[in-house]
């Protein structure tokens, strides 16, 4: 592994595609929704209202939103254990998601899936996946299916740096390349697997792994939504127009622990590192600044979005807390279709 600075993110030189004003505000709202959604997830956990654990993607919002904004709603995504962001960015509703996280019948999966298995067919989300690398085949299969059915749908496979350890990733990249499938492999390198720095688990050069299969690969700063969005637009266009698969490495960071219970992190990473990312590389701050600098909106516009999102989230939490649990008879339904 190159002993490159942990925090280094590579800047793409080109000026990214510039979303229009309304789209910019929408993008900001989406990122903020993810952040507030997950802050509340953490809250629900610490107040013992949420069963089990949950993995927060706060800090990584620009990747989820930047990629999904480049997709159509009938395009597919597959996601991971850290999947709330992908799910929301692809179009899921916060109330049904909270309900799922609380194990309620009105949740996306009737409470049967929970945080690690949220799927929402209507928005093209084929599901989070609790097996690291477990959805790589599914995304690639969805791309094959799109090609076979003659649609121009595209499939995006989100996964973390840790999933680079799973052989299936290489198996399916090989096939995607051979068969020229419309699939984009989006690797979110947030520097850590659970509690181990990626340089201890990842030899060599990440994008070179994809390139070895003749897959077009790019590495970008995952905290800059404009870069993520514009690169994604290019890669989606490639896939949709039959130019085949690609690999997008997004350098990013999770602010919280591996899961909500991972509070004492000093043995694997420093407070300084966390602060550096939170302060100088926060995707919301960066984008808000760009919006105000470019007169897309002003402080009060941002405050308005903030309060709208805040009240949506509050309503959603309330909806979920009030929602009923599934009936006991549900337990052995849906084993077979």
């Amino acid at each position: 592994m190159d002993n490159k600075d942990k925090n280094s993110v590579q800047q793409k030189p080109e000026e990214p595609i510039r979303p229009d004003k309304e789209h910019s505000r929408h993008i900001y709202r989406q990122m903020l929704t993810i952040r507030k959604f997950e802050e509340n997830v953490n809250q629900l956990y610490t107040s013992a209202k949420m069963p089990g654990l949950s993995h927060l993607s706060i800090g990584q919002e620009a990747v989820a939103v930047g990629v999904c904004e480049a997709l159509r709603s009938d395009d597919y995504i597959t996601s991971t254990h850290r999947g709330h962001g992908h799910c929301l960015a692809k179009g899921a509703k916060t109330n049904l998601m909270f309900a799922e996280l609380l194990g309620k019948a009105s949740g996306y999966c009737r409470g049967k899936g929970g945080s690690m298995h949220i799927a929402d067919q209507d928005s093209g989300n084929l599901g989070a996946n609790a097996i690291v690398g477990g959805s790589a085949g599914i995304a690639t299969g969805a791309a094959l299916s799109a090609k076979m059915r003659g649609t121009d749908q595209v499939a995006v496979c989100f996964f973390g740096d840790g999933a680079l350890g799973q052989g299936i990733i290489y198996e399916v990249m090989n096939m995607a390349s051979l068969w020229n499938l419309p699939v984009i492999y989006v690797c979110e390198n947030n520097l850590y697997t659970e509690y181990t720095h990626y340089t201890e688990t990842t030899a060599g050069d990440i994008t070179a792994r994809a390139k070895a299969f003749h897959i077009h690969a790019e590495e970008i700063a995952g905290q800059d939504i404009r870069q993520v969005y514009s690169t994604s637009v290019e890669l989606v266009e490639r896939a949709r127009s039959g130019k085949g698969p690609s690999f997008l490495l997004c350098n990013t960071y999770r602010y919280f622990g591996h899961h909500v219970g991972d509070i004492n992190r000093a043995y694997y990473r420093s407070k300084e590192e966390e602060n550096e990312w939170k302060t100088n590389r926060d995707p919301l701050i960066i984008f808000a600044k760009w919006m105000t600098n470019n007169e897309i909106t002003d402080e009060s516009g941002i405050d308005l979005i903030e309060s709208e999102v805040q009240s949506e989230i509050e309503d959603s939490v309330k909806f979920a807390l009030d929602a009923p649990y599934p009936d006991p008879e549900e337990v052995n339904k849906h084993v077979y279709a």
């Binding site: 799927a119 969805a142 076979m148 849906h334």
Partner: protein, 331 residues
């Protein structure tokens, strides 16, 4: 029950015909696996399909069982009906995550929203001098996982009918063919037919003892039944045809009728299919059994290469007859 027909074809032809018919009927059906196209698999079961359906629907894959099984799962979730070909059942060990953690659970985990109409076609059975990594019968693993269905055809007729049902099912189905049966011949109608899952087939009626066999062990049971007839023992032979779902009622009813049961399956004996079936019957027919339910599985050893050893590990009619005799001698 088989329709009356004079047409006799092989097991292998029956499988091929089922696939061809379903692929003609439904454009979403496709095949993916190693050497499935021009080669038609090493067993030549798929010969001719690529010629009719093209390489777009008969996909030669790299040697990536985990990857292409996963691709099958994803394709199944998005409108296709893939038939994933795993060349030897032993290689499913490589794709068990995709089968047992993904395909099996997605419908349930999504609260019933997503479906995985996937067929995994693979095989089981020893006796080909292929040694320990090409001779296993691992079907019990799959039967243990809720969400999967497991079919074990024992005749060309069943092979065609069960495979067609599997392809039309909205759930993942694992269908195991015994490599030694591919050239077996039998009556198979030309018309379209399917065989419902969870319905056992009484392959031979009898009154003194029930022999339950799966896959090629049905033939072993039938041969044993012939030999038992010489000894004036009337054996009923039942083929569950699918072991998940399992037609418990037919098995228990027969056990109640005959009061003696032997279960024969080619998986390893311990913790195998014979254990489930034996325990279902021991419970369901408890007050009617004259003797304990006996189990005959493959010997609990990695399958040896040497023919003189391998043949000792697989159940055969003589073993069944010997075991049956002990059930009548009083103990």
């Amino acid at each position: 029950m088989p329709e009356l027909t004079d047409r006799v074809i092989t097991f292998s032809q029956a499988v091929n015909e089922a696939l061809a018919e379903e692929m003609r009927r439904d454009k979403t059906v496709f095949i993916i696996g190693e050497d499935v196209a021009e080669a038609g698999t090493p067993f030549k079961v798929l010969s001719g399909l690529v010629e009719e359906f093209g390489t777009e629907r008969v996909l030669d894959s790299p040697i990536s069982e985990s990857g292409f099984t996963g691709i099958g799962v994803g394709a199944a979730m998005t409108g296709m009906r893939p038939v994933v070909d795993i060349m030897f059942g032993d290689f499913m060990t490589i794709s068990m995550d995709q089968i047992a953690n993904q395909a099996a659970k997605i419908h349930y985990m999504s609260g019933g929203k997503l479906k995985v109409p996937l067929v995994v076609r693979t095989n089981l059975g020893a006796s080909r001098r292929s040694a320990a990594q090409h001779s296993q019968s691992l079907h019990v693993w799959l039967s243990h996982i809720p969400g999967l269905q497991v079919a074990l055809p024992s005749t060309p007729y069943d092979a065609k009918g069960l495979l067609k049902t599997a392809i039309r099912e909205d759930n993942p189905v694992i269908i195991f063919e015994d490599k030694m049966m591919l050239q077996d011949k039998g009556n198979v109608p030309e018309e379209d037919y399917t065989i419902p899952f969870g319905v056992a087939d009484i392959k031979r009626e009898g009154s003194d003892i029930t022999l339950i066999g799966t896959s090629s062990m049905v033939q072993v049971a039938l041969e044993a039944a012939d030999q038992l007839e010489q000894l004036n023992i009337s054996a009923e032979v039942i083929d569950p045809r699918t072991i998940m779902p399992l037609d418990k009622k037919t098995l228990i009813d027969s056990a109640i009728k005959t009061s003696r049961v032997i279960v024969i399956d080619e998986g390893y004996d311990s913790y195998g299919v014979t254990a489930e079936i034996a325990s279902v019957i021991a419970e369901g027919a408890f007050y009617h059994l004259e003797a304990p339910v006996k189990r005959i599985g493959a010997m609990d050893v990695p399958i040896p290469f040497s023919p003189v050893l391998e043949d000792l590990t697989v159940p055969n009619p003589a073993m069944v007859v010997e075991k049956a005799k002990t059930l009548f001698s009083g103990i």
